[in-house]
Amino acid sequence: MRNYIARRLLYAIPTLLAISLFTFLLTRLAPGDPINLYTFGDPNITQADRDALRHTYGLDKSLPEQYVDFLAGAVRLDFGKSILYHQDAGKLVFERLGVTLQLAAAALTLQLLIGVPLGVLAALKRGTWIDGVIRVFGVVGHAVPGFGLGLLMIILFSVTLRWLPSQGYLTIGHADWDVVDRLRHIIMPAFVLALAGIANYSRYLRTETLDVLRQDFIRTAHAKGLRESVVTRVHALRNALIPVVTALGGILAFLVSGALIIEQVFTWPGIGQFAYASVRQKDFPVIIAATMLASVMLVVGYIVRDIVYAVVDPRIKVT
């Protein structure tokens, strides 16, 4: 196992290197110069000023030189200074990570709390109207464009009914630890973000549970005369959950990435929203720092998933 982890971590190095090169090239080759953007319309800026600024940010160097500079900094977790904020890009992104993770964690919780029971219920009530409703939801939940739903929810719950705040994560003047206030803020974005996942999990769990219910050891359990609820709870559910664990990596990817649009709709000040603003303003150091941070989270997430998978499923052996 230790070997396996070491190997996976080793493999992560070229992966991250390739990601950095890929992101670096994509951002630098794109049209649009950050200094031209930054100084656009300023009547007092001369050509010389622009050139000096470009020099300050190392943008006058050749691309390979810039990439080497970037790598030299990146290994020390120094992604350079944001062109707009004049602060460490890495620090700026990191400050926003917590907010994004809050949202992702809330969404994941909703997915598991709602999706898993729905799926199991549908499988147990197979063929009934309950199963029907849950299956319809399992498809419908996928088909809604997230930002449209988010905006309509804002109109309904914030503007018309005035039940929930529409934006941000904390009411002005409330203390950081005001959990109730935070929950009131997070519920709408987390739900919209979680919806597809809830639908997904319900479908997933239904299929898996049906699959497991048909397998021999369940029949054996029935044959042994175990009560239905015991069979379900102990045997079926545990086995059905194994694939759920494997899905977590993909779900994490979706949550981190999918949060971008939802963060924008609800002005949730996380890394997705920040990355978006930075892409539009060509703030290279921030774009790369945000992408790298998100990628590291994913790579680590995948590794953890595989390890957990190996641990919970005895059929898988890692060497």
Binding site: A30, P31, G32, D33, N36, L37, Y38, T39, F40, G41, D42, P43, N44, I45, T46, Q47, D49, R50, A52, L53, T56, K81, L84, Y85, H86, Q87, L92, E95, R96, V99, L151, I154, I155, S158, V159, R162, P165, S166, Q167, G168, Y169, L170, I172, G173, Q264, V265, F266, T267, P269, G270, Q273, F274, Y276, A277, R280, Q281, K282
Partner: protein, 573 residues
């Protein structure tokens, strides 16, 4: 996103003018004056909505509207604009100009002090100017280059002090700044754009030995000593900036408890949050006007903006030579019903423009200009006069070349996208074919500023500052030249006889007369030339629609400043 792009365009465009002028024509009801018998009550918070977060609270590094807005609540400037006329008035300091127009003598208000109780002195002005000299990331350096001794201090690094900046030996609140040449915009650019910085905080970053520590000073994110009506409390990045009232403010403690600057997603959300009371101030878009006007608890103050949205023509385009033809450009002015555009896109909350300076600016022409009233027949006649004949496809052509060109605008800005689509449609009706394109803002900025010849027509906006000098937009020295990697804002390569001279006389007059009257004469001529030559279809100036709760008192944004009396604002309970 949408909001973001709109906001950013103006953010990016906002000149290095610290007194961000929210220009307005005095019209429309505001929450305004206290009623009879009302007594001011202290308390309450003022929550302003913005589409973008602030970037810094260091005045010399700020180049965007959100940052400048918050900085202006924290730091006092030497001068301020009269809210009604835009005339420059003493604020922290009073000034006189020497007879040769080269030296400005200043005296700082005796009662002005920092939040730590220390008086604001001449040395603090020097600290601010020196900070710009030391910074490697400021966009302000050029403002100061005509100060005597600037080069030695900022460029060569040989001086400990700027020799042209002299503090009065007898009175530490008095100083004089000498320039090497007369330059009319200097008053706004130098004394208006630089805030005064506390030497006790920033002095250590601007010594002879300092490099660029000022750019990363922790006080840029967390200002400890300030001079404005509010003082810094908290910056929740990406979300909000919270300022508390400064009870020792030299003009008297504000009545409001807090000023909060809050980020919201877009214009629709902004309007919604005003309705729910989550925001108490924001400027809405025209499309939301009717909805807000219906709200019983909200008041809308309406002013003309100091800026305009226009269609620019690349007069030197080889692929669209028609745009180099004056008759065609005039036809394009007659052929687009701008009044209808204002009525439909802005719901009437704007004004058609026919020259560079908007009516609210003192530099706006007072003489009669050609208004180019909508007239399809006249437009077609001008096209025929230019030697074109209508083809069977309904498009005019000359020598086998159809009268066709592209117009590009930045994607996501609804107003501009709509103007593009309307213009395309209306030009089609006068036999002109328009290829409508939208591009990312950053791509378009690059193409425009570098003089990329794929640009034929373009739609964008100028947000003008308090200083009306049009040189950087219209001078032939500002035509971008891709061959020499020269960038500039005269994107269309426009030149006209006499234009350069009036602009130079307006900014650096040979007789040294920087009076408003003298400069206005030059800009009168300037506007006549661009009005006649139509290098742009000057489009329209949208109105600023400022929304506050109805019970906010003393909120009286004049044409040039919204916040000038913020310390007096209060909520009627």
């Amino acid at each position: 996103m949408r909001q973001f792009r709109t906001a950013r365009v103006f953010a990016a465009i906002a000149a290095a003018v610290a007194i961000v002028a929210t220009a307005c024509a005095p019209s429309g009801p505001t929450s305004g004056a206290p009623g009879p018998g009302e007594t001011p009550v202290a308390g309450g918070r003022f929550v302003e909505g913005s589409f973008a977060d602030i970037k810094t609270m260091q005045p010399i590094l700020s180049s965007d509207v959100p940052s400048s807005t918050v900085i202006a609540r924290l730091y006092e400037g030497l001068i301020q604009a009269d809210p009604k006329t835009g005339e420059l008035k003493p604020n922290l300091g009073k000034w006189t100009v020497s007879a040769d127009g080269l030296t400005y003598n200043w005296e700082i208000d005796a009662g002005a002090n920092w939040t730590d109780g220390k008086p604001i002195i001449a040395q603090d002005v020097a600290t601010a100017i020196k900070a710009a000299g030391k910074s490697k990331k400021t966009v302000r350096k050029t403002n100061f280059q005509d100060i005597v001794g600037w080069k030695e201090f900022a460029v060569d690094g040989t001086g400990d002090e700027i020799s042209g900046f002299k503090v009065d030996g007898a009175n530490p609140k008095k100083f004089a700044v000498t320039f090497s040449k007369v330059f009319c915009p200097a008053l706004v650019n130098v004394f208006g754009s630089s805030y005064v910085l506390p030497t006790q905080v920033f002095g250590k970053y601007v010594t002879k030995a300092s490099k660029d520590e000022i750019d990363t000073a922790p006080e840029n994110e967390n200002p400890s000593v300030t001079s404005g009506p509010f003082k810094f409390k908290e910056w929740r990045k990406g979300d909000q900036v919270v300022l508390d009232k400064n009870s020792t403010y030299w003009k008297g403690a504000p009545l409001l408890d807090q000023y909060i600057f809050k980020v919201v997603a877009d214009s629709t959300v902004l309007a919604n949050q005003l309705k729910t009371g989550e925001l108490t101030y924001g400027t809405i878009e025209a499309k939301d006007y009717d909805d807000i006007a219906k709200q019983e608890n909200l008041a809308i103050a309406e002013f003309q903006q100091l800026g305009y949205t226009y269609i620019g023509w690349n007069v030197s385009s080889k692929d669209a030579p028609a745009l180099g033809d004056l008759k065609i450009r005039q036809a394009l002015a007659y052929g687009l019903d701008m009044d209808a555009v204002v009525k439909n896109i802005l719901f009437g909350h704007g004004t058609k423009m026919v020259s560079h300076h908007p009516a609210v600016s003192w530099a706006a022409p007072s003489g009669a200009l050609n208004q180019y009233p909508f007239d399809k027949n006249k437009a077609e006649q001008l096209i025929k006069d230019a030697g074109y004949a209508k083809g069977s496809d309904g498009v005019y052509a000359k020598g086998g070349q159809p009268l066709a060109f592209s117009i590009v605008t930045n994607s996501g800005n609804k107003t501009r996208e709509t103007l593009l689509q309307v213009a395309g449609d209306q030009y089609k009706q006068i036999g002109v074919k328009v290829n409508q394109k939208t591009e990312a803002f950053e791509t378009m900025v690059d193409e425009l500023t570098t003089g990329n010849q794929v640009i034929q027509g373009w739609i964008i906006g100028w947000s003008l500052g308090l200083e009306p000098d049009p040189y950087s937009i219209w001078s032939e020295t500002q035509i971008p030249d891709p061959a020499n990697k020269k960038t500039g804002f005269n994107f269309g390569g426009f030149k006209a006889p006499g234009l350069e001279d009036v602009m130079v006389q307006g900014r650096a007059p040979s007789n040294g007369d920087c009076s408003q009257a003298a400069r206005k004469k030059q800009y009168e001529k300037f506007n006549q030339i661009v009005n006649e030559q139509q290098p742009y279809n000057f489009g329209f100036a949208a109105n600023v629609l400022a929304v506050t709760p109805k019970n906010l008192r003393e909120f009286a944004p004049g044409p040039f400043s919204t916040y000038w009396n913020i310390e007096k604002w209060w909520y009627k309970q």
